[in-house]
Symmetry: C3
Subunit: 483 residues, 3 copies
């Protein structure tokens, strides 16, 4: 059985993608989806929640080989290959101790990916990589054991050209706005360099203070020293800690930042009194804060971050509910962020109550909340976003950033929150080449969802087109306004 | 881009609704849906869980202006407008302290709604209001900033006529049975007046004792006094408390009631011993019951309510899992029920166990359970309703009373509970004009769901038609039988 | 209204089933579904999680009457009839005390089922039974009050013939591999008898030690004695307990077993130190272990079972999250397993962490996890199965083993776990005749899901066909390999 019905994939003259991919099959609905997508596909990209390294952009050096670009930094790919029994070493994942496992030939790593291509059937990873390979890199065949070397050479050839340097890709991808994610203690030198080259305001930093807010974190004292150094404030008390954070936020604002980013385990935002916060902070300085105190302090600091946002206007992004580095053995060998972060049940109704009660109607606050627990969509997040003006429901995040995940999101939240109380599409990626693919996929899925509403006579086509443009472009612009 | 594909909406001669709205787009399925819906659309309405004020019906005075009828009492509408930054004062929401914010001109309130009409895209609120405006009021154009005044005048004109008085609307809406919701301490005078006019048995009260069962509630002593007054029983002990409640239930039964209604935070039904209940009650009389005691007492009283239902036959309705008045600031200014009630995770398997173990096979008990936590559909409620004869799974409630919410409900519960262990459609509305819209939407969604089963050869069309009539009419009649 | 659109059901010449049943209605998608299903429908059945009694197979005596075969042992059927008010006694459910309720005439029991046939609309029970009645038994009309006696006689006639004896049915059903479930203390005599007749390796036992691992279980001391007897090891200490379990596992392996089966309340796998485990075991021997100790010991033993699986290679099956015998009154009268087992919320991310951290990358471990809590699909199980090589996501289980349940499963997990990290289809049934129906339904639903991916240009048709065969056959073979 070898017939391929999406004949575009293996034509004799190369590999193309089907123009209708991801659209609903039903004919009337598909026709509406085409019409809607045609109006959004060329809109510029707003990428306000990214993890591309600012240093890579500032250096603007050519990207390396296909393995280094597409495999090693993409934890979606890495995790799936590990699940199929591929050893992390065989993928070239660096060990923390720098131990001498002979680093694999990148061509071998690429072959490993290609020979496992079938295990990505039905996953967004496949969609994203196909999009990048065909649309951005123009390779001539789908990955397989047979085509691995051909593709490796084709991609390597492209990456060596100036048209594929990082900043050229920012243009090629139509990235109107690209945010990086930066520790609160970052020097922001790369952003200064980019600004000096005229990229300020287009490539912007994002303030991420997580490590500073986890006072039980092993590296906290060192981070605190660094905070003192960067801010020029001797951080010897809770009061000075808050001042130093405010100083750093101001520095980020000056560097063009539009948002903060918070990855806490829980969404709890219960504030402490200043005295209590000071007491815990002092205990933490002595490394004597209990686990419970550290957790409560993190919740308190989320509340504080919201308060600061009402003053400096930075959009606050919260994405809780993930147990990081699930395998302690793997983490001890390879460190974090290689695919072992696993969601847990999330709770928002009670957790966000203190913050929303205090600031939920504040005209300057915009709090964008993401989740990997779908049960909170219809039960908690849509009801909350559907009444508090400060709250925006973020796009489907991480494991949910997929065709069916995005469809379920719209189906679960639109009834209660409509479209206007969502953030529109926000990608979250370390894989630079996947940015346009993710936006394209989102636009196709939203076109399909809106097309269904039109086909079911629940929305006019003109309204659907307007809404699609909102979701793809205007809502994200509004959620992350210039300061 | 201004083409409207559901051309019925902006024709030159007025505004009509598409006859196929909400039906699945796929042609075979749609044709079945039309056939099924044709058999249910004219069935009378059974509205057994309503919040229309009995006084309004008894007085039968003309309704007021469009703002007063459609905006102020509809927390779905209010919450969405607040989320978009409209101030409650601008919507005419009364402040608790009666403070002199100059009450807005109702025409201005209506204009605010109309100019925000686009934010309701994709919501059931839009569906309901369109249905009311077109089908019941015959207005000539969809709401918008441009049409606001025209609509205001058209609606005002209709409302001033006798054909739009409350009791005329009961006829117009084909309401065969309409239940109001009444405090356990209500005089039931309005119902007596309605009965005297010949509406007894058609408009009936529902017994809602929530405030009396929350012994930590600030107004509890006053409510208790009122209970004593209404029942003629001096409520100075737990034993007399139970007697007084039984007396009131009997009075409700005499006034035509068919059901009780319980909105507890949790579904817990763990009973106490009589001695323990007496001890907590006595402590509560002295205002010394702890939070934990009050919570346990509420659970105990749910068990007691089930026991009483096995005796007097009132159908017991339970809809737990909502944190009321999420914003304490808003509640302090405007009071409850304006859109700040937010769901929390619910649990039924353990919570209902004491009640079901004791009464779940009792031939006189019918317990209808509603939830706003969809996760309990397939995990807990369908498995429970699919084995306990006394338990009926209520219709999708509140935020889930929407096209996609109702579809997900059927998909999640039918496998395990079938249709016959559900209550059929039960609306829950304060917005009188939305009653027919809600029933119509439910009938359309169920027609679509059943049509899919037919199209997939999982059900005969004759069976689907019979089932649709059950869901729309016969099952609710059976769930709330005459006593 | 009596037209039947699936005309195959009431033709004048008998009763047939529609060849397209359960396929999506949309024409393109349905055509793909037909093509895909055509390639899997004739594949042999691998049934590795069954509850058919090994004694029935060893005896190979003719099955009894229709009531005894189709009603009494099928808790899906029983629970639905009870929910509709039928008394367990009327269904012939035996009372624990053997009390003299006059056992009902099996023909009456069958009539009760047939006259309630309409309440099974939309349920998988209906699908399974229709499949068995038409495809396996060739009856001439759907069940109804009118046809009950005709069907009873037709079925009774078939069951009396040699072609319908248990082992003949194993052939007829194309069962390539059939696992029974057997207590850890089972003699395995029936399996020895089957092996002697040449069925060894085709009908295999499964090691289920649940009762031995619940040290607070009333019958635990007796079970422990039996363990000592079977293993020949005097189980007077924790160390000897572990040895005896290892001995029994070895006996199961020798008898052809490929898997263990674990039905704990929680998925917790936190290990104890050997000393602590010994202390709890000793307390349990004295009947003095606390509830908390018993729960912790069960978690510890799951960890131990995984450790043993890394040594003997038995696939480990875990299906937690069910509160058994919800009605204590019913359980006291009729015992367990008659439909009163109700799911509760499940948690896997934290619960499986100890086991996965220790053994999740072990090359010999295969842990297949099932759930009846759908919320864990996208949130926990797919992310875990998508990274740990030892973990396989089991098929939709129990209440979720239904057309819509299986579709939701694929939609929720494929994005993150793909297909290759799932177990493929695993049925779980006490109802022997439903085995082919369940596999057929699963193949149809997966064909429909894959057809949608093809129709949406997310997968090639050749890939879909290959994947369908994996799900139906190759993945289960791989998940339960020969030892």
């Amino acid at each position: 059985m070898t017939e391929r019905t999406d004949g575009d994939r293996t034509g004799p003259t190369g590999w193309t993608l089907h123009p209708d991919r991801v659209f609903p099959a039903e004919a009337t609905t598909r026709e509406f989806a085409r019409t809607i997508y045609a109006e959004t596909r060329e809109l510029p990209l707003v990428s306000m929640h990214g993890h591309v390294d600012a240093g890579v952009l500032a250096a603007d050096a050519p990207f390396g080989n296909p393995a280094e670009v597409f495999v090693v930094p993409d934890h979606y790919l890495v995790r799936m290959l590990i699940a199929q029994g591929v050893a992390p070493d065989a993928l070239g994942l660096p060990r923390l101790d720098g131990a001498a496992t002979s680093a694999p030939d990148p061509r071998e790593v690429w072959r490993t990916l290609c020979s496992h291509w079938h295990v990505f059937r039905g996953t967004p990873t496949r969609y994203w990589l196909e999009h990048a390979l065909v649309t951005e890199l123009g390779v001539s065949a789908p990955p397989s054991a047979q085509t691995a070397d051909l593709l490796y050479d084709e991609i390597s050839g492209r990456l060596a050209t100036d048209a594929y340097r990082p900043l050229a890709l920012v243009e090629r991808f139509r990235l109107e706005l690209l945010a990086t994610t930066d520790a609160a203690t970052a020097t922001l030198d790369d952003h200064a360099a980019l600004a000096a080259k005229g990229w300020g305001g287009r490539i912007v930093p994002t303030f991420r203070p997580d490590d500073l807010l986890r006072v039980d974190h092993q590296g906290w004292p060192a981070d605190l020293d660094l905070l003192g150094e960067r801010s020029g404030i001797a951080v010897d008390s809770y009061r000075r800690f808050v001042e130093a954070l405010e100083q750093r936020r101001a520095a980020f604002v000056a560097a063009g930042a539009r948002a903060t980013d918070h990855g806490h385990r829980s969404a709890d935002t219960t504030p402490m009194s200043e005295a209590e916060a000071g007491r815990v902070f002092d205990a933490a300085l002595r490394r004597q804060a209990t686990q419970a105190e550290a957790t409560a302090f993190a919740a308190h600091m989320l509340f504080e971050m919201a308060r600061m946002s009402t003053q400096d206007g930075l959009t606050m992004q919260l994405h809780p509910g993930v147990l990081r580095s699930h395998s302690s053995r793997v983490a001890a060998t390879y460190g974090p962020d290689i695919g072992y972060d696993i969601p847990v049940a999330a709770e928002f109704t009670r957790a966000l109550r203190p913050l929303l009660d205090a600031f939920g109607h504040h005209p300057r606050l915009r709090l964008v909340v993401f989740t990997v627990d779908e049960t909170t969509y219809s039960r908690e997040l849509a009801p909350l976003a559907g009444v508090y003006p400060a709250l925006l429901l973020g796009a489907p995040w991480w494991f949910l950033d997929s065709p069916d995940g995005m469809r379920r999101f719209r189906e679960a939240v639109t009834d209660t929150a409509g479209f206007a109380n969502t953030s529109g599409f926000v990608d979250d990626t370390r894989a630079f080449f996947s940015i346009p693919a993710r936006h394209d996929l989102s636009r196709r899925v939203d076109a399909g969802f809106l097309a269904r509403l039109v086909a079911e006579h629940r929305l006019g086509l003109d309204e659907a087109v307007e809404t699609a443009a909102d979701l793809a472009y205007h809502l994200p612009r509004r959620a992350y306004p210039p300061l």
